[in-house]
């Protein structure tokens, strides 16, 4: 039984050193994510957009609902309106920043709602299994088979459109896919060999959940969250466009586009700038989501 002697600089120490330092799943994922150019650009642009939505409204000399009679349909750069003004002489930049804030806010809150419902529902179904699982997933199937926007329209019509309800209504509808993902993941994780191995190695249940189940559950959930936010922003804009979402003088990207579409021949900038803002926002989320999926899910590579 010869002992391995460790001489500094030898290959063995090098390997040992690396092994001791360790690279968690998340380190790996982060490294892969940062190597993805589209995702990095997406994150940078998104950070700028969030910053603009957060502090932008304070930097613009106009309020989003400030009516200026003399500036009706002012083109971009005219009369101090960087992006022009609308039919009531309201500054488009101020409204755009405000709309961005509303849309991003709805995206974040409604996603949180869908995350809570979806993870709880999916984990419960996957963990309990059997008849309960069958029943719970059948409910998901039923809701799936409806054109979901109908549900949201119905909720808006039923209880009137106020902004909190929009958060809740959209979040309450968007949890279905999350529930399916979490359930499937929980089901397959429950009987994976590495879980059994961990159990055999004497890990406590808490340790197994924290170290093996959660990281594996978290990956798809994080990816799906990044893809849910743009879906929700889209759904909100869809409703606002139909006149069922955010009510004037409040603005969201959807209402701005709807307003812009009405006056597009007279004042095309009212349509073009909000459309660009919407497209850029959605693209950022999609790039980040795709990047995260490639980074977190090694199977796809």
């Amino acid at each position: 039984m010869s002992q391995i002697t460790l001489t500094p600089g030898s290959r063995t120490t090098e390997l040992m050193g690396r092994a001791v330092k360790g690279r968690s799943l998340w380190d790996d994922a982060r490294r892969r994510l940062l190597r993805n150019r589209a995702a990095v650009i997406g994150m940078a642009v998104l950070a700028l957009l969030v910053l603009a939505a957060a502090i932008g409204p304070f930097l613009v000399p106009f309020a989003y609902d400030e009516i200026n009679k003399n500036d009706v349909w002012a083109p971009p750069l005219a009369a101090g309106h960087l992006l022009g003004a609308d039919a009531l002489g309201r500054d488009l930049l101020a409204r755009l920043l405000w709309g961005l804030r509303v849309s991003l806010g709805i995206g974040a809150v409604a996603t949180a709602v869908s995350l809570i419902i979806g993870v709880a529902w999916g984990a419960a179904a996957g963990y309990l299994g059997g008849v309960v699982d069958e029943a719970m997933m059948r409910i998901v199937d039923v809701l799936y088979s409806l054109p979901y926007i109908f549900f949201v329209i119905l909720l808006m019509v039923t209880f009137g459109s106020n902004i909190v309800l929009i958060f809740l209504a959209i979040g309450a509808v968007e949890w279905l896919t999350m529930a399916r993902i979490v359930r499937g993941q929980t089901l397959s994780l429950k009987q994976k060999e590495f879980i059994e191995a961990a159990r055999a190695a004497g890990l406590t249940r808490v340790a197994i959940i924290a170290r093996h189940i959660v990281p594996n559950l978290l990956g798809p959930v994080v990816v799906y969250v990044t893809l849910t936010i743009p879906g929700i922003i889209l759904a909100e804009s869809f409703l606002s466009f139909l006149g069922l979402g955010v009510q004037p003088p409040m603005a969201s990207l959807g209402t701005l586009i709807a307003d812009g579409a009405q006056d597009m021949e007279l004042a095309p900038w009212l349509l073009i700038f909000p459309s660009i803002a919407m497209a850029v926002t959605l693209m950022c989320f999609n790039f980040i989501g795709d990047g995260l999926r490639d980074a977190i899910d090694p199977k796809d590579r």
Binding site: F150, G243, L282
Partner: protein
């Protein structure tokens, strides 16, 4: 295979029943009655009107009546458009929706598959990147952005196509709505096809086909494509749902007299019977299309066929 299909059917029917029930009770839970928007009616007349439509009966009786009616193919009268039944309204308005929906469906499948296959065969080439860039844009830019922009460009500025309107279904009036409706689906279908093709082209049976010396078109079209379209077949159901949802926007923007426009108007007017009838109609349509997709899937995938 028969068992597989029967199992699918056994899910679809209770689903439809639950949809009917949920729609009924949600609409009835809404505050305000459908007669609120009219000028104030004297209480006696209001009572009579409500009695005529059966609103004075207990809720469960109304529900029972409604279910019996639905089973007989009777969705009741519209509450807003007097003298018309829900079925008549659907019959009178489905044509524009069907025309643009079907056209968009065919267009997105043909264009989407072609783009995806070519992109997969030139993986990482300029064409591939260009197609996938267009696909990402197609996914990210919603139809209520593309539609006004196209109206602005092709209708108002260039004057090539009418900005809006149905005009009895004249082909120039159809171009923009169909394009707008199909664009997101083209994007998704081309991405799915590309992913499926890339995987199929790397598989062992394609290598075997190459080794046999089969010509490339036969390998691609007969062997690889068949496997690559499988995920696409499961996407057909969601694609139809997407087209139906998109039709709400497209019919509104382009002012087409179809079901989507009617649905939004009815929902805003609290026309219970019309909204419920149309939801059931939409749900039944989606379930039927999903079932057809399952049939197709079973026909294409031997693993399902033999199970």
């Amino acid at each position: 295979m028969l068992r597989y299909l029967l199992r699918r059917l056994a899910v679809a029917i209770p689903t439809l029943f639950i949809v009917v029930t949920a729609a009924f009770f949600m609409m009835r839970a809404a505050p305000g009655s459908p007669f609120d928007l009219d000028r104030k009616l004297p209480p006696e007349i209001k009572k009579n009107v409500e009695a005529k439509f059966g609103f004075n009966k207990p809720l469960l009786v109304q529900y029972g009546d409604y279910i019996v009616g639905v089973l007989h193919g009777d969705f009741g009268p519209s509450l807003k458009y007097r003298d018309k039944t829900v079925v008549q309204i659907i019959q009178e308005n489905y044509r524009p929706s069907m025309v643009i929906g079907l056209s968009a469906f065919v267009l997105s499948i043909v264009v989407g598959i072609n783009l995806g296959v070519i992109a997969a065969m030139r993986q990482n080439g300029a064409y591939d990147y260009a197609t996938m860039a267009v696909a990402i844009v197609g996914v990210c830019i919603p139809s209520f952005v593309t539609a006004p922009l196209m109206q602005l460009a092709f209708g108002a500025k260039l004057g090539w196509l009418p900005i809006a309107g149905w005009d009895g279904g004249a082909p120039p009036n159809l171009v923009l709505p169909v394009l707008v409706l199909a664009l997101p689906q083209i994007a998704i279908i081309s991405r799915l096809t590309r992913a499926g093709m890339i995987e199929a082209l790397r598989s062992n049976y394609v290598r075997t086909a190459r080794a046999k010396g089969l010509p490339e078109p036969v390998i691609v079209l007969k062997h690889a494509l068949r496997a690559a379209v499988l995920p696409l077949v499961s996407y057909l159901g969601p694609a139809c749902a997407g087209l139906l949802t998109g039709s709400l926007i497209v019919e509104r923007i382009f002012n087409l007299p179809g079901l989507g426009k009617f649905f939004v108007t009815s929902a805003l007017q609290r026309d219970y019977t019309v909204v419920m009838g149309m939801v059931i109609f939409y749900a039944a349509l989606i379930l039927a299309l999903n079932f057809l997709a399952d049939l197709l899937y079973a026909a294409l995938d031997p693993r399902v066929r033999l199970a």
